[in-house]
């Protein structure tokens, strides 16, 4: 600890801290542009000049380390004169076009110019003009306004890990940007909008829609990945206009993913449905809520409850999921599930309380070795990927596709899905001798060979002390998930690593806790006789279905709605009405979306985060928890009279109590470690980053990004030869453009979800 004096007052601070950190911590204003606490120090704008005793010239507070006994003056004549002069220089080339600038009213340049600048300038000459380049659908550019602070450049290099922004040119000719016209590809790119202190980089979807002072800010939780990023929603006249991050060091720091930032556009999609409807004799009719609810209940009552299945989106709130399962169990059925992309449920009884990250989000940042199994982490969970990237750990990856990572990969294996088991076994075997072999695995591991690649992965994983093995989306949806999980657990155990799950959606964990699974009640207690899992429900024709926030034809790995079409009765609690829904549903109960309803999400580390509604429900939509409550009442199910979502949440929380998930125990020892047979072209399916749920699928700007450009059947050039140069390939009867993609292993085809009907796995018929 050292003592320094600022403006006549003494402060204690950590040796080695920069002056600006001390002023910041003590609420002393020092103007700045280039300094940002999450970026490296550039000290290029000079706005933070302050007077330091015995220093001949003013010093930049952002780059000056403190020293014991240092005396600093932030408001002395000398400091003020320096700040005034810098401000004048910064404005030389600035167009001062605040009235037509989106940043106006929340602009650091405006604020600091008013606070520290002069009202006139000595500069009489011509100002320079910079022609802006198009950076894609998310970020609007007006580069004449740029003050060259280089925050965006450092962000691009240091945070996104894929340097795309730079400062080409020199002196007066320097132009911040990409040099070539290109769409920014980072999945965190929107943060550049926040860190740009001026109006050079602004939000394209939000452009020209409101002034900062006209909007209200409401705090809530992001509705897509399992991070639970803290966000603020800005609204005006009951309309969501934009989303920005809220700082939370333990979760998202100061960043959010583009998905969390721009998905709000889906709230006002054209196919939003705002009044209840029923289908009679093939035609849809708008009806009153009472009529629709009664119609739903009357028809469901006709059907044996064992033949009713409920499928829920894991993006629904804890409250909604809890009430849906309570409703189902109330009418006597355990057929409820949210695991739409899982095929293998054979070890579900041994699964932990919920798919737990196995550690805190911040722990990822400190790990020294990690093995990713089946995860395109960058696109699945951008913020978790950022933490892992920061760790600078030895990361090994085991994937079906040779994904590009934005950090160095220490060892990697790209393995066709049918060969996962033998290869994971090899990795486990390479770790033998390191520790106790879990019971039952001894014999299984005995007779496998270890390849060099497997050895390399095992070695990478044995770096340092803090190690973790993480299972991603492509592992969860693997047809041999139970075996994969067991092997991952074995690998974790043998390497002394923590096993962690990367739950797919914002409330996957909440769904488990709320009992939205066929084999466990809320709180995790096993049911006597498990109901059908999602895959079974969508492949065995049930008589009736209740859907919550889902489009199973897109959301489920069966890739089909044929069971729904064949059913006698389908109730869809949905925010959107599509042709497919019209086809199979009989009642549409329009529900409110994210921002329109209160609720709770539980993130990957098991943190419960509740939020209130931000805007009124659109049209006559109702929050799903209220709809479900009324359904429960109409079915006369006991104890269904909830008056608030908090009351529902408290009940779930009480049921969960202080139970904690254990990832170390509770996986099933496989009976054999055999690969799957495969003789044709194997399909690998990835859910594109901007297609994972109904809301984001309708976010227009995100759909225009390169990440959403996923059409086609991707095969490597060797495999492509079999198509003799044709541009289009018939896949399961549909025609898809052929895309050459070196990342795909031999014998496989990558087909992103949502393009063709049919299951995500196994062989595809091509011609």
């Amino acid at each position: 600890m050292v003592t320094i004096e600022i403006d006549g007052k003494s402060y204690q601070a950590q040796a080695g801290q920069k002056l600006i950190e001390v002023t910041e911590a003590n609420g002393i204003d020092v103007p700045r542009f280039c300094y940002h606490k999450k970026l490296s120090i550039a000290a290029s704008c000079r706005m933070c000049l302050v007077e330091v005793e015995r220093a001949p010239k003013p010093m930049p507070a952002c780059a000056t380390p403190i020293m014991d006994g240092m005396k600093v003056f932030t408001r002395s004549t000398k400091a003020l004169a320096a700040q005034k002069a810098v401000m004048e220089f910064l404005l030389i080339n600035h167009p001062l076009d605040c009235p037509i600038c989106d940043q106006g009213g929340e602009c650091e340049l405006q604020d600091i110019a008013v606070g520290y600048g002069n009202d006139t300038s000595n500069y009489q000459e011509a100002k320079r003009v910079v022609i802006s380049k198009n950076l894609g659908p998310l970020i609007a550019t007006e580069m004449t306004r740029c003050i060259h602070c280089t925050r965006c450049v450092r962000f691009s290099k240091e945070i996104t890990g894929v340097p795309e922004m730079g400062d080409p040119g020199r002196g007066e000719h320097m132009k911040i940007g990409t040099y070539v016209e290109k769409n920014i590809t980072s999945e965190l790119s929107g943060n550049m909008i926040d860190i740009c202190p001026v109006g050079a980089l602004t939000s394209k979807p939000f452009r020209f829609s409101a002034r900062a002072w006209e909007m209200q800010q409401h705090n809530t939780i992001a509705p897509h990945d399992s991070v639970g990023s803290n966000i603020a929603v800005h609204t005006r006249r009951n309309k969501v206009l934009r989303v920005v991050p809220r700082e939370n060091e333990a979760i998202n720091e100061v960043w959010i993913s583009d998905r969390d930032r721009f998905s709000y556009e889906g709230l006002t999609a054209n196919d939003r449905i705002t009044s209840p409807m029923i289908k009679k004799d093939g035609t849809w009719k708008k009806v009153h809520w009472d009529t629709a609810l009664a119609y739903a209940v009357d028809n469901l009552k006709q059907i044996d409850s064992k033949s009713v299945g409920a499928l829920a989106s894991p993006t629904a709130t804890v409250e909604e999921l809890f009430l849906l399962q309570k409703l189902m169990r109330g009418i006597g059925s355990n057929n409820i599930d949210h695991r739409l992309r899982q095929v293998d449920f054979s070890d579900q009884d041994q699964a932990p309380l919920f798919p737990y990250l196995g550690q805190a989000i911040t722990d990822l940042e400190n790990c020294e070795a990690a093995l990713l199994i089946g995860s395109h982490l960058r696109k699945e969970q951008p913020i978790l990927n950022h933490r892992l990237r920061k760790a600078g750990a030895k990361v090994a990856v085991f994937n079906p596709i040779d994904y590009e990572f934005n950090f160095p990969v220490a060892a990697k294996m790209v393995v066709a899905p049918n060969n996962w088991v033998s290869n994971l076994t090899g990795i486990a075997k390479a770790l033998l001798g390191n520790g106790l072999i879990p019971t039952g695995m001894q014999k299984l591991l005995a007779d496998s060979e270890v390849t060099e690649e497997q050895q390399a992965i095992a070695e990478a994983l044995q770096t340092g002390e803090k190690r973790t093995v993480l299972l991603g989306n492509l592992a969860t949806s693997h047809p041999q998930f139970a075996t994969v999980r067991a092997l991952a657990a074995t690998i974790a155990k043998l390497s002394g690593a923590r096993l962690g799950y990367l739950p797919e959606a914002n409330n996957t964990t909440g769904a488990w806790l709320a009992g939205a699974v066929p084999h466990r009640k809320a709180g995790g207690e096993a049911v006597v006789e498990a109901g059908l899992d999602a895959y079974a429900m969508l492949s065995q024709n049930l008589k009736a279905y209740v859907l919550l926030g889902l489009e199973p034809e897109l959301d489920s790995c069966t890739g089909s709605a044929s069971c729904l079409e064949a059913a006698d009765f389908v109730v869809s609690l949905t925010a959107y009405k599509t042709e497919a829904i019209e086809n199979y549903a009989d009642v549409i109960l329009p529900i409110s979306l994210f921002t329109e309803t209160s609720g709770t999400y539980v993130n990957a580390e098991g943190l419960w985060q509740s939020f209130g509604g931000v805007v009124n429900p659109t049209g006559s939509t109702r929050p799903a928890w209220k709809v479900l409550r009324v359904l429960g009442n109409l079915f006369d199910i006991a104890e269904f009279d909830y008056v608030s979502s908090e009351q529902v949440r408290d009940e779930v929380q009480a049921l969960v109590g202080d139970k904690k998930p254990s990832n170390t125990a509770g996986w099933q020892v496989p009976t054999c470690l055999e690969n799957m047979a495969s003789d044709g072209l194997q399909r690998i399916t990835e859910m594109p980053i901007y297609s994972g749920d109904a809301l984001v699928r309708r976010a227009e700007a995100l759909q225009d990004t390169l990440d959403a450009d996923v059409a086609g059947i991707h095969v490597n050039p060797t495999v492509a030869k079999q198509f003799n140069g044709s541009e289009q390939v018939q896949v399961n009867g549909a025609s898809l453009p052929l895309v050459l993609d070196e990342r795909v292993p031999d014998g496989c085809a990558l087909i992103y979800a949502g393009q063709i009907a049919g299951t995500w796995h196994g062989n595809v018929e091509v011609s």
């Binding site: 795309e164 080409p168 040119g169 020199r170 052929l738």
Partner: protein, 171 residues
């Protein structure tokens, strides 16, 4: 047929000769700091391409040195010896920085403008000369000065300039 991630392939874009020359720069630096060879690489590639760099060539250099393309653009746009547009046979780089300006570089530039009929940054119609303004080339002692190819011409006067041009014309 489209291709996912069309990364430029240095091996197909850069000639073998260029690559071998770049390798002589690469070995001068620690193995994990290949990108230190970027300036040498750009010079080699520019020369092989008739005096200027295309974006494709810069991307190929980036690929060859394992660096992000934007970092190569930054280097190529910072230093005045790299050309991003086609140039004439002879590139006349006139320094107009402080010392040269004080010693009459404006007069030299005016003279060249008239003589060649082009402004700074332009190339003559016969593609012989490109006139270029550069910053201090470290020859302030001989200001005003200009650089042509690898040679410095110092203490310039309009007459001296005429002589130089004449020699180049007759080459």
């Amino acid at each position: 047929m489209s291709t996912h991630t069309s990364k430029p392939n240095a091996a197909t874009i850069l000639s073998e000769e260029s690559r071998l020359k770049i390798d002589t720069w690469i070995v001068k630096y620690p193995t994990d700091q290949k990108q230190s060879a970027v300036m040498g690489a750009l010079t080699i590639v520019q020369k092989a391409n008739g005096g200027w760099l295309t974006t494709e060539l810069m991307d190929a250099v980036a690929d060859y040195l394992d660096m992000p393309p934007i970092s190569v653009y930054e280097v190529a746009t910072f230093y005045s010896m790299y050309e991003l547009e086609p140039v004439g046979e002879h590139k006349l780089c006139v320094c107009t920085n402080v010392s040269c300006m004080l010693r009459g570089s404006e007069e030299i530039v005016d003279h060249l403008n008239k003589k060649l009929g082009v402004n700074l940054g332009e190339t003559t119609d016969d593609n012989k000369f490109t006139l270029k303004e550069v910053e201090c080339l470290g020859a302030c002692g001989g200001a005003p000065m200009m650089q042509i190819e690898d040679e410095y011409h110092e203490n310039l006067t309009p007459e001296k300039v005429d002589n130089i041009l004449e020699k180049l014309e007759n080459q």
